[in-house]
């Protein structure tokens, strides 16, 4: 069974103006799956729709064998789906500890067991629990955003461009964290602009173009795929592909 399965999703911010126009993705258990595509393709809209933040006009989203198409956003973590948005993904006005604790308290997580695991995963954060999160550096913010999402032990973790705005060294650190997270059995779906790094990290990937999944396959195949090359390097997209 697939960990996450979207069938023919149509989604958008306003009725009659779909941004995602019939996208389908199937993500296997404990794999890292990348969603690639040019600017404005609807990648963010797709993951937001899956997370319940953007209305789904048609199609279905299955999490394991549960239909979560109509589940409101605040119930998603209870179902086992966590999402880290691209920007503003931490509560800058709360402490690091409160950022992590809040979801745990709401979901009645056994904190005595789970918080040490999170501390092990993000030792950098463990040392700064009392700090107001707004004072963290860019890389630490991204880690806090992941920690906040992971504390409820989701089955599937979705991230929107976790490498955006980070130096190559920090991107490496964040991606290493994601590998560790996957090693604990969590399925990871990430949207990435950074095609090379994403394909190096992911097991499989899909390329979304104009709201539809154009090509899907193992990362190794996509690296050498001519169509990807055309999409990213051919039509003046070289700058964004980095």
């Amino acid at each position: 069974m697939m960990a996450l399965c979207c069938n023919d999703i149509v989604a958008g911010y306003e009725p009659g103006l779909p941004i995602v126009r019939g996208a389908s993705i199937s993500v296997r258990r404990a794999e890292i799956f990348a969603i690639l595509g040019p600017n404005g393709a609807g990648k963010s809209t797709l993951v937001k729709a899956i997370a319940g933040l953007v209305p789904i006009l048609s199609g279905t989203v299955m999490l394991g064998d549960e239909d979560i198409t109509a589940v409101p956003a605040h119930r998603m973590i209870g179902r086992g789906l966590a999402f880290v948005p691209q920007t503003e993904n931490i509560f800058a006005n709360l402490t690091v500890a409160d950022n992590i604790d809040l979801a745990a308290s709401i979901m009645k997580v056994d904190k005595r067991r789970r918080l040490p695991e999170i501390d092990d995963l993000f030792p950098d954060l463990a040392r700064q629990k009392g700090l107001v999160a707004g004072r963290l550096s860019g890389g630490q913010r991204q880690m806090l955003a992941c920690a906040r999402a992971l504390v409820t032990s989701p089955r599937v973790l979705m991230l929107d461009e976790p490498s955006a705005g980070l130096s190559p060294r920090l991107v490496g650190a964040v991606f290493d964290n994601l590998r560790q997270v996957r090693a604990t059995g969590v399925t990871i779906v990430l949207v990435e602009q950074n095609v090379k790094a994403a394909l190096a990290l992911a097991d499989r990937a899909t390329v979304l173009v104009e709201g539809k999944d154009r090509i899907t396959g193992p990362s190794g195949d996509l690296v050498s795929d001519a169509e990807i090359a055309a999409l990213y390097f051919g039509h003046g997209g070289a700058g964004k592909a980095a």
């Binding site: 997370a51 933040l53 956003a73 209870g78 931490i90 509560f91 709360l94 709401i106 979901m107």
Partner: protein
């Protein structure tokens, strides 16, 4: 001088409690609720009504004062009941009006709707209670001299005024503890900062909105009763305080609870200290001069987030 400061702090307490509600609805619902003043008025009048029942049921004639205060336990019981009723009123108005507009309307639609709600609430109140002023108690209060007359003009304060100051302080401390240490309090701060992320964190934003209305309305009822206790109960009680409430909330940095408290005290002090300078008619204008002066120096208000 000292006397003016004491008077200013008492008015400031009422403004602070009201401004907390304004700033809270603003930070969570993202609109300036001009009907908030009416919650103060309704709180004051509902307390008066419940007080009538409590005293009648007690059958002991007029309310027996506690110690030096002008009021007795019946008033406190009535305030507690009226605070609950005011909270229900706020939830009702939200359900009837704001919730429907939130789904589609922009902030300005909500603001204008809140003007309408204010008018409706005030007219309904006048229809029920009439327009004459009223009092919780006819007891005459003897002011206590705290500072002799030869020290900076001296200071006299009534026991009721001391009670208002003390209970305001207690309320603000309790609210601080609630927002800092409870899950609901943290969820409210999280929602104020970023509603979408709050939902992703498992927070039911509708529950947070209800909590904001309840807290705002309870504090409004307390402020309304304090105003009724230290001045008088009038249908215009809340409306007349509306501009000071907003001045206080903006001065403190809209969205900041502590800013609202600080802003309320500053506005109260500014109004009171301006009386000997410009006369009582211009006290409201002084609050705005202070507001403008502070915003020129700190455009986000005293405790406002910069970004």
């Amino acid at each position: 001088m000292l006397q003016l400061i004491a008077d200013g702090l008492i008015v400031g307490s009422v403004i602070s409690l009201g401004a907390i509600g304004v700033t809270m609805t603003y930070s969570i619902l993202r609109f300036a609720n001009f009907a908030h003043g009416e919650l103060l008025t309704w709180g004051a009048y509902l307390t008066l009504t419940v007080l009538g029942f409590v005293v009648a049921l007690g059958g002991a004639g007029p309310m027996q004062p506690i110690g030096p205060f002008s009021f007795g336990w019946p008033l406190l019981a009535a305030l507690a009941a009226a605070a609950v009723m005011t909270a229900l009123l706020a939830l009702l108005v939200d359900w009837l009006l704001f919730e429907r507009l939130r789904a589609h309307g922009t902030a300005i639609v909500l603001v204008i709707a809140s003007f309408g709600a204010a008018l409706a609430m005030r007219n309904l109140l006048q229809f029920i209670y009439g327009t004459l002023p009223d009092y919780y108690s006819r007891e005459i209060q003897i002011a206590i001299r705290l500072v002799p007359r030869d020290v900076m003009g001296g200071m006299r304060i009534t026991p009721d005024q001391l009670f208002v100051l003390a209970l305001t302080a207690v309320t603000v401390v309790l609210l601080h503890l609630f927002l800092t240490y409870t899950t609901l309090g943290k969820a409210m701060r999280a929602t104020a900062h970023n509603p979408a992320l709050a939902r992703l964190t498992g927070i039911d934003v509708r529950a947070v909105i209800r909590a904001a209305w309840v807290i705002g309305a309870v504090l409004a009822a307390i402020a309304g009763v304090f105003s009724g206790l230290t001045v008088q109960i009038r249908p215009g009680l809340g409306f007349d305080l509306l501009l000071p409430l907003f001045a206080a909330a903006i001065l403190g940095g809209i969205g900041s609870v502590y800013g609202a408290v600080a802003g309320g005290l500053i506005v109260g002090l500014a109004e009171s200290l301006s009386v000997p300078l410009f006369g009582a008619e211009y006290r409201a204008a002084t609050a705005f001069l202070v507001l403008i002066a502070i915003l020129l120096v700190r455009p986000t208000g005293l405790f406002g987030e910069r970004n």
